[in-house]
Every structure is written in C-alpha cells, then in structure tokens.
C-alpha cells in the first residue's frame, strides 16, 4: 500500500508536466480546430529565450514574465503571417504547415543555442516537499502553477467579454461574425494564448527534463494523450487527463512486468488509441453530432 500511494504521488508530479502541455494543446484546438504539432517546439523555443534572458543577468521572475509576453506576441505573429492564409485550406495542408514550422523552429534553436543539454533553474527549490521523498518543492510548485493557470483560464472564458467572444467564435463562427465579433482576431488571440501557456509549461518542465532542442518530443506525445483522454474540447479535462496519464504511466511501470522506460511511448500510444476507440470525445469533452 505504501508503494501504491508513493507511485500515485510520483504520478501526480509527472502528470503536472503533461497537464501543462495538454492545456496548451487544448487551447489551440479550441481556437483553430487543429492539433498543432509544432506546439512542443514553440514551448521549447520560449524556454530557450527565458534561459538566454537569465544568462544576460535578469532575475528569474522578470525573465519568466518577459518570456510569456514575447511568446504571446510571437504566437499571434505566427498566426497572422503563416497560418491566416491557410485558414480555408484542407486539414492536410495545415498539418504540412505545422510540420514545416516544427522543422524551422527545431533547427533554428539548434543553431542558436546548439544541442548540448543545459541546466535550467527552478524558482521553487528542489528540497523534498513536506518531507516526502517522491515529490519535490519544484514539482509541488508546478502543480500549483498549473491549477492557478486553470482557474485563471476559467475566469477568463466565463467572465470576460473577450473570453465570451472567443468561445462564440470557436463554436459558431458565422453567428459570431453577425454580432460583431472579429473571429479572425479571436483565432490569433487563441494562438497567442496557446503559445504563452506553452511557454509556461516549457519553463516549468525544463528543470525536470533539462533544456535542449529536442526536450519536448516525448512530452508532446503525452500532452496529446492527456488532451485526448480529458477531451480535446475541455481545458479542465486536459489538466485532469494530464494527471491521470502521469499516474497511469507510473502504475503501469510498477505493476505490469516488462514495462520499463523503453515502453513508455508505446503506453502513450495504447492509451491514445484505446481512449479514441472507447470514448472519442474523452472524459470531459462534448460529443460531436453531425447534421446530415
């Protein structure tokens, strides 16, 4: 029983990483109805920017907030310049665009900061949290920030005019335009927010997985798995999905023989496929009904 609770705790702490990433994935899915395969790379690039700012002598929190602002602007810029012309193109073209973006960001980061692994500082310290060996103060901080973010997003979408406009633009673009919402800019705003959330996720994850251009590969897959499990249309579901995936991963590693580090990605795969088959809308998503 001791082992079981410990594994669940450890699962929650890794789950926080996935939850952050899943939140960013869901944000952009809400805005544009596409999964952004370059999301992880965008987060990685933001993290590198914050690292660079710190190298130049800025304190952690200053770098943190400047990076968020920069990422927000960059997300909007990417949408305006690269993806707005593709808004009416088939999904296929969009996916190709995401892949191109992925390739460009990954390669540029490698050129600017090279591929060596870098340490990344944490503002929370890494002492054991409340005397537990499995969960450090950084991980506890990460969970805290994730929940803070979720609450902030909830209030933004539920109680502000812009949030309402964004929801309207996402669910019924035609009608939203008729009541005077600039749906095109709402999409750009979605990109900006997803990029900013991705930046937060990246900066929180970096102390755990270390900073390098390929740091997001595995995390993104788990982020996708979490988003799918929670339901791609629900930010709350994404966060819960993230924690569930983290717990599931740890329990599977402990109790199913033969599942070690090498099988971690196949587990994510199995999870994605079984969720999609059993409950395509995810745990908290809404089902999509097709009109004939």
């Amino acid at each position: 029983m001791e082992l079981f609770t410990n594994q669940i705790l450890a699962g929650i702490s890794t789950g926080a990483i996935y939850a952050c990433m899943a939140l960013a994935v869901v944000m952009i899915y809400q805005a544009i109805d596409h999964l952004n395969f370059a999301q992880g790379e965008m987060a990685m690039f933001s993290t590198f920017i914050s690292w660079q700012l710190m190298q130049w002598g800025l304190p952690y929190w200053a770098a943190f907030f400047i990076t968020i602002a920069l990422s927000f602007a960059a997300g909007i810029a990417i949408e305006r310049i690269l993806f707005k012309p593709l808004a009416k193109a088939p999904i296929l073209t969009n996916v190709a665009g995401f892949i191109a973006l992925f390739s460009i960001i990954n390669s540029s980061a490698g050129l600017i900061w090279d591929f060596t692994i870098k340490q990344y500082p944490t503002p929370f310290g890494s002492a054991p949290f409340l005397g537990s060996q499995l969960i450090s103060t950084h991980q506890a901080g990460m969970i805290g920030v994730t929940f803070l973010l979720l609450v902030a997003l909830y209030f933004f979408f539920q109680y502000t005019r812009v949030g309402l406009a964004m929801r309207a633009a996402a669910s019924l673009p035609e009608s939203a335009r008729l009541v005077g919402i600039n749906t095109s800019w709402m999409i750009a705003l979605g990109w900006g927010m997803a990029s900013a959330i991705g930046a937060i996720a990246g900066m929180l994850i970096a102390p755990v997985v270390f900073l390098e251009p390929n740091m997001m590969g595995g995390v993104l897959i788990y982020g996708f798995a979490a988003a799918v499990l929670g339901g791609l249309s629900s930010p709350f579901g994404a966060v819960i999905g993230g924690f569930l995936v983290g717990i599931f991963e740890n329990l599977a590693g402990t109790y199913i023989p033969g599942v070690g580090n090498e099988l971690k990605l196949p587990i994510a795969l199995a999870l994605i496929i079984s969720v999609l088959v059993v409950k395509p809308a995810g745990l908290f998503g809404r089902a999509i009904v097709k009109r004939v």
Binding site: L92, F224, S234, E262, L265, I273, P280
Partner: protein, 339 residues
C-alpha cells in the same frame, strides 16, 4: 466551458476531391517517363543508380499513402510503422531463415496488409485530426517496440540486422546496384499499374465516394467500414513491400531508421507530389530525397529551417503540388498547338 447544445460539425473536407481521370498520366507521357526510367542507369554512375533505386522505393511508399489519403480520404502519419514491419520481415526472413529475397516481398506485403487492416479497425472511429494523432503515436512508438528485449533474437535489438545484397540472377552481366534498380523498377511499375486499376475499379470508386461524402456513400450502399479498413490494408501492404525493397537496397535495418521522421517525410512527399495524383508520388519522393541535400548545401546548421521554408513555399505557391505544375504545363502545350 462546454455548451450543452448539440454541436453541429460542419467539417471542411480533409482532402480536396480529385476527379478519377485527373489521377493518372496520359499514355504518351507515361511511355516517355518509363523510357527515361529504363535508360537512366545505363548512363550514370553506380552511386546515382543506388539513389534512383531509393527514389523508386520512396515513390512506392508515397504512392501507398496516396491511395489511402488521396483515394479514401484518410490520414496517416504512421506509414513508417508499416514500412518498418516490411523491412524487418524481409531482413529476418533473409538473414535468419535464408529465404530468397524476391520471395520475402509477397510475405511482407501480406503481413503488412494484415497489420494495416487491423489498425484500420480502431481508425474507423476516427477522422481528420484524430486519425493523424493516432497514427502519429503509432509511428513514434514503433522504434521502441522494435527494440524490445524478447524480440532481440529475431530483430537484433538496437544493433539491427545486416542484409546481404543479392547478385544479378542467370549470370546477367550487371552490377548488383543496376540489377536491384531494374528489380525495383519492375515491381514499382507492376504496383503502379495495379494501383491505377484499383482506383478505376468498383472498390476505387467506393474509396472516392467515402472520401467525398461518407454519409452519402453509406446511403448508396457502400460498406464504409469495410472499404475504409481495406484502404488501410492495401496502403500498408504496399508500404510493406516498399519497406522490404528499402531493406534490401540499403542492406541494413535498425529501429532508428524508422522513426517518425520517415513518416513525416512520406507525408510531405505526398503533399509535394499532389494529393490524389499518383504520378506525383515520384516527384514527392525526389523532393524528400534531394531537397534535404540542397538545404544542407544552402546552410549546414540551418538545413531543417531551409527545408521548412521550402515546404511553406510549396504550400503557398503550388498548394496542389506537382499536379498543379503538370496541369499548367499541359495547358501551355495546348496553347502552342492551337497557334
């Protein structure tokens, strides 16, 4: 944040509809291309012959994806997984069981057809982005599955397998490279003709009906589930054969040759060649083999970025890929003839 009202999905089509006749080349053009492909190795060095063989192998794999996406409208970012299964089937049969290389092709074709058909079952429930996601996960997981310990006696684990290169049979005076080129060419042509005929057949029309409007297709009595999984199976089978040929040509199979990068390359090859335009497969294959080299020539450190920029250019300037260029060329020729 979810609305309680029923969502009405007015989905944009995943793939633009391509008319059946626009999917192939005319007889004259086909013959010219064929002639060039037959004569080419007589004039170039053996390394270039080797590269051209690879080009054909990739073209086959892109063709397979084109049948799936251009034909039946389903996505796949997981073709590398089927390619890997094919390559390993050949590698294992040839090296561990001493089977003749030519006989391993049908085996991997059938095996991959089975695997693809089975994977098509869960894929039935998915469309668009979700399908891309599921296949993406499949491609990412594949190298790790191949590295599994208990498979090591067959797969050779992380080390992979070395495959012996076959000699030209019947004492033909040909180098190994040239023989492999012609061997690959014959198989590619056979599969290309098969694919063209498949898309012109009853099944092909069923694929396209599903691509254009699933609900209408099922209303017309098409067994949507059967044909969708069938498309997956056929596509996986051809990819498997391409994988086998790839293993024989490169003489080496290892888990890390079949990462998500390969799947993405094949996907890009299809986009560049023109979705649903079968002859475009070879143009797409040329793009994925030669453009990274060009990109590296432009700037070594930034090759990925240059590649990405080129891809964006293709998407903006010629969104229908090589098909668009071919149609443009045809129209110009027609104009000159009128004068």
């Amino acid at each position: 944040m979810s609305t309680a009202v029923d969502e009405v999905a007015t989905e944009t089509a995943a793939v633009e509809a391509v008319p059946k006749r626009a999917m192939t080349l005319g007889a004259g053009t086909s013959l010219i291309v064929l002639g060039l492909l037959i004569l080419a190795p007589l004039m170039v060095k053996s390394f270039i012959t080797f590269q051209m063989t690879q080009l054909l192998v990739y073209a086959l794999a892109v063709l397979a994806l084109n049948i799936l996406t251009g034909g039946s409208g389903q996505f796949s970012l997981g073709q590398s997984a089927f390619y890997a299964v094919g390559a390993y089937t050949s590698g294992i049969l040839m090296e561990q069981y001493n089977v003749n290389y030519a006989l391993t092709l049908p085996v991997s074709g059938i095996l991959c057809f089975g695997v693809g058909f089975l994977f098509g079952q869960p894929a039935l429930r998915l469309s668009g982005v979700y399908l891309a996601l599921a296949t993406f996960a499949l491609a990412t997981a594949m190298p790790q599955l191949l590295k599994l310990n208990f498979l090591e006696p067959w797969t050779g684990g992380v080390q992979g397998l070395v495959v012996t290169k076959p000699d030209a049979p019947f004492g033909l005076p040909m180098s190994q490279d040239m023989w492999l080129y012609y061997f690959t060419l014959v198989i590619s042509i056979a599969i290309y003709i098969g694919a063209v005929n498949l898309l012109r057949s009853r099944s092909g029309r069923a694929f396209m009906a599903i691509r254009d409007n699933e609900i209408a297709a099922s209303a017309m009595g098409i067994d949507v589930a059967l044909y969708k999984t069938l498309a997956f199976g056929v596509s996986a089978g051809i990819t498997g054969i391409a994988g086998s040929l790839g293993a024989i040509v490169v003489q080496f199979v290892a888990p890390d040759s079949f990462t998500i990068t390969l799947a993405i390359q094949l996907f890009l090859g299809m986009v560049v060649g023109g979705v649903g335009w079968l002859p475009g497969s070879i143009v797409g294959a040329a793009f994925i083999i030669f453009v990274p080299n060009i990109a590296e020539g432009v700037s070594k450190g930034l090759s990925g970025a240059v590649f990405g920029v080129l891809l964006f250019l293709v998407i903006y300037v010629v969104p229908h890929g090589a098909r668009q260029i071919a149609i443009l060329g045809q129209q110009t020729v027609a104009k000159f003839r009128k004068r």
